[in-house]
Symmetry: C2
Subunit: 675 residues, 2 copies
Amino acid sequence: MEQVVDYLADERRKAEFDVEAMKIVWAGSKHDFDVSHRISRLVASDPVFSKDGKARLGRNEAFKNTLRKSAHAWKIIIELRLTEEEATKLRDFVDEPAPIDMHWDMFIPTIIGQGTEEQQKKWLPLAYKLQIIGCYAQTELGHGSNVQGLETTAKFDPKTDEFIINSPTLTSSKWWPGGLGRVSTHAVVHARLITDGQDHGVHGFIVQLRSLDDHSPLPGITVGDIGMKFGNGAYNTMDNGVLRLDHVRIPRNQMLMRVSEVTREGKFMQSDVPRQLVYGTMVNARQKIVSAASCALSRAVCVAMRYSAVRRQFGSQDGGLETQVIDYKTQQSRLFPLLATTYAYRFVGEWLKWLYKDVTQRLQSCDFSTLPEAHACTAGLKSLTTSTTADGIEECRKLCGGHGYLCSSGLPELFAFYVPACTYEGDNFVLLLQVARFLVKTVSQMGSGKKLFGTTAYIGRIEYLLQCNCDAQRAEDWIKPSMILEAFETRAARMSFACAQNISKMPSPEEEHVLIKRSRSGFTELSCDLVEAAVAHCQLLVVSKFKEKLQQNTPGKGVKEQLQLLFGIYALSLLHKHQGDFLSTGSITPRQASLVNDQLRSLYAQVRRNAIALVDAFNYTDHYLGSVLGRYDGNVYPNLYNEAWKDPLNDSVVPDGYREYIYPMLKQKLTNAKL
Amino acid sequence: MEQVVDYLADERRKAEFDVEAMKIVWAGSKHDFDVSHRISRLVASDPVFSKDGKARLGRNEAFKNTLRKSAHAWKIIIELRLTEEEATKLRDFVDEPAPIDMHWDMFIPTIIGQGTEEQQKKWLPLAYKLQIIGCYAQTELGHGSNVQGLETTAKFDPKTDEFIINSPTLTSSKWWPGGLGRVSTHAVVHARLITDGQDHGVHGFIVQLRSLDDHSPLPGITVGDIGMKFGNGAYNTMDNGVLRLDHVRIPRNQMLMRVSEVTREGKFMQSDVPRQLVYGTMVNARQKIVSAASCALSRAVCVAMRYSAVRRQFGSQDGGLETQVIDYKTQQSRLFPLLATTYAYRFVGEWLKWLYKDVTQRLQSCDFSTLPEAHACTAGLKSLTTSTTADGIEECRKLCGGHGYLCSSGLPELFAFYVPACTYEGDNFVLLLQVARFLVKTVSQMGSGKKLFGTTAYIGRIEYLLQCNCDAQRAEDWIKPSMILEAFETRAARMSFACAQNISKMPSPEEEHVLIKRSRSGFTELSCDLVEAAVAHCQLLVVSKFKEKLQQNTPGKGVKEQLQLLFGIYALSLLHKHQGDFLSTGSITPRQASLVNDQLRSLYAQVRRNAIALVDAFNYTDHYLGSVLGRYDGNVYPNLYNEAWKDPLNDSVVPDGYREYIYPMLKQKLTNAKL
């Protein structure tokens, strides 16, 4: 029998709070905790879902193995009659991008969001039973961010009551859609609708791609996989695809017609359903990405934290144990802010979920008033959280030293899997410019007497924020959440205000004195400042939502104290990192910036003894973490060692290629060798 | 015949300088240019060195293919009688980590640096002819940064005149050495020397690992590969290895005895050769890493720059062409500073090469005076340039949008290949602390009347720098190199000075008032501030060496003007990024920080029309870049498209796994399916 060890037991004993209570806080509710706990253990104990040797599989093997996991997951979902919530969790914990993910995450939601009731009645039952598998084909080889520039066309043919879907150019090839390359039978294809020679912009069309009998592509359809992507595993288990359509005909009723329709006569009509509904879907997709960010970052932090407590280096005195690397201040100053960030993102993610619900309810009663704000919040937070998470995962990998570079650490895979989040669903810089546009607009409406609410309420207090002074006089002053919040508000407000002012002062390139042109050219010219202002606003958002969380009633011994520590670390480490903004806007003084550093050192010392328990609170299984370095029991070295021998390179005593290449080199027989 | 296209011809015509002259500047000299040009074209035209399909190979295939390339390269080196310089270039341009790299880069230099003349006479001829292949086995599973903590032992046995090399624990297993896993016949093994029960610290020993007849491991030797690493290709073509030694006996004369020796009687003796020589080797290794950083970053910048000129998105008016993404200010503000950084690192790398030569000459005449400074410079610049380059490559990848995530972009591979440079040859944070220690020591010696020279000369002017004020009053003032340099000197001096002061004020934990203890505890406690001060010093170094380059005579129309632009962009973008330092130390005012931004915008506009020519000046072949997005001709889309179809997933019409997994899902036949 294997001996049970826990090399981290000492660390766990040090914790000053109720870890079980913190698990509930992290999960969001007792119910969420229970579901995640049950489903993650179900997946971890099932050999089909094993991750062993994943990094060593070739593309075809890896892909086939993912199909096997998908089929097995679906079987379990049916047999155990899992709820939708449980089924989603199951797919999450299988933790491998799979072709049918897009069926659940994009194909079905699009039909729900953009299909008429009749269309939903026809397609959804097929989709829910998996009698068809769908994907979402929007992006093209030549167009990503600029959706309105898509080139694929859908011409209505009134003679046959059909649309003719066509890829007129090479760059119009659909490119990137997950699930498209090898698996999907259907796709929602986005194409420019053309009736009677008139272009009505981009709409969605349900197109069957493959035969339901033998899976072969239908006539006029050229479809395949776009090739290897970043990482050993990561998205290489996904069949991101290319699709060309050569005058493919589909019935008229396969255009998604909830918002606009084409009649039998070929007349294009807008329905009375508000177009803003489409933005609701976008808000939902991005809100989910924010939740996923805290999840991905927390996995990396958990691995790096546990390994930092196991790893010892330097500082041995008289032959004793060396110092745990977690005790080095430089390690703490890089790792603890990321720990705090995972919690911060978790809470802002919860709030976004609420915001989405709120917006959806308002949309149903035709109240669009909060939509621009919701759109700016989700766009901005999607950008901020995914950029920080991608960088944070890589920082955690570096914090594991050399061993973090091994696939068995799990971190290279996590990084390669995660980074596309910075690009998909809106490039992060494009999104920040959208937020900036919203902010500048908000600031410039200030005079109009319009009342500002929600996340822009602070801009309503701009006169105060432009002249206020921060009161911090001692390091301890920087534990006051209200003082921290005001510093962030001051910085954000002043940066937005300065941008708005500078834009209005900017000459337009052709010296045309039309106000709108000037503002456009100024906006372009100052876009770097605008991006920074947008980041400041988004960081303020996270800080303010974390502060609100502190005001809630949080049961459990010591839990609230830990959240207060983490809040301080999150906000002050951010303040230090961006002190250029705070100082250049005069939001704080150099002396106050230095006090922030003193306070941070004290917070790091306080959180140190709780560090392992704070990552235990994520409640992740070793299967989910998929990291030898992040093992719960801290038994790192023997497992790293054993993992090494499984590499196929070690299958033979002498490597393949020895006779052909190594031997001739060693024996100076290269001249005759055939290479 | 293929039609010759050049989609970037317009961009090339815009250039305002002599690209051929800039190529010489980039290469360092006409001679360097000629060698690089000739060898890179030789490699690019040789089908054995083709990179086609690299990302798609499994581990064993990829490894074998690398052996083939190594043998072929060696054959060419012999047949064409290439010089050492040419041979090194050839290996560089083959551009694939290979097991025998460590033979040339570490094994041979170690024997030269640490072996006696007799040992060199015995081992070097074998090594130069490749009759043996060696590697460098230092790092262990449990010890990386702390070399003095290595556990492997080498006990002298006076009875047989042998050393017994042993791995006493699991964590003492050698772990990571490249070339060790599958290929090397010999290794320099680092082990604790023990004579007569006494431990003399870590020394190097030449140990034969494998039979020269059949390549099988010798008795007592357990050796293998440590498994998959980050990336699809990258270091997976290298056999980073694990080695356990079970009381392996080697003759006494296989201890490298230039610096210390063990006599026949077992007496341990220091030779009169200065131990500082070992630092010389380290300076050399790190100086090479700095050169390699500018090279790796320039490849990523070249790819992103060309693709940014090809890619168009948004901004089409009346159906015309969309805007090239290179014309967006946010793209420029991320990409142009990286372009400037490659040039800056190139020049500081040249200077380091000179510094190494100078130090070596001094060491030979027993002048150790400049060694601490040289050590601090190379440690600091290794850290700064590798961290910036790793982040910069990933930034370039993101600047290519979604397509940068494809292996065919070359960027994922480049990143995965490059990032370990942040960890090997000294973890970047450990190195910065070493620099900081040097700086604090330098500052605290100020009173002693010691004259400061070289890169610390500015600290000699600390009284001035502590009270000076920056004069910049208009944006244009920030083009003056001397004004920029002084701002960087002021910031760096003030940060080091503040650290030294704060350390001296720090109470030691046990309130022991022994000065040395206090300073140690203060150093530990303030290590985050120290790291930032070290970074400031290193950035100043790069800025000052770039400024010196501007003062040199540089022929070629417009070349000097471009270098001036790049200098401004490098220094001012850095100043903006770290404005928190500049403002908190009062080195500049908020108003001056804002002028920096104005000046940067103007510099970006000026460099824009030269951007493509400035990456053409790197003179890279398409083979070396290995990127569809970075093609010289800009013909991106058809090549991306064609590349996709080569993926093995596209080999069959219906994917492997369809019958077993997809069909049963679609037909609701999972219950009976065997998964």
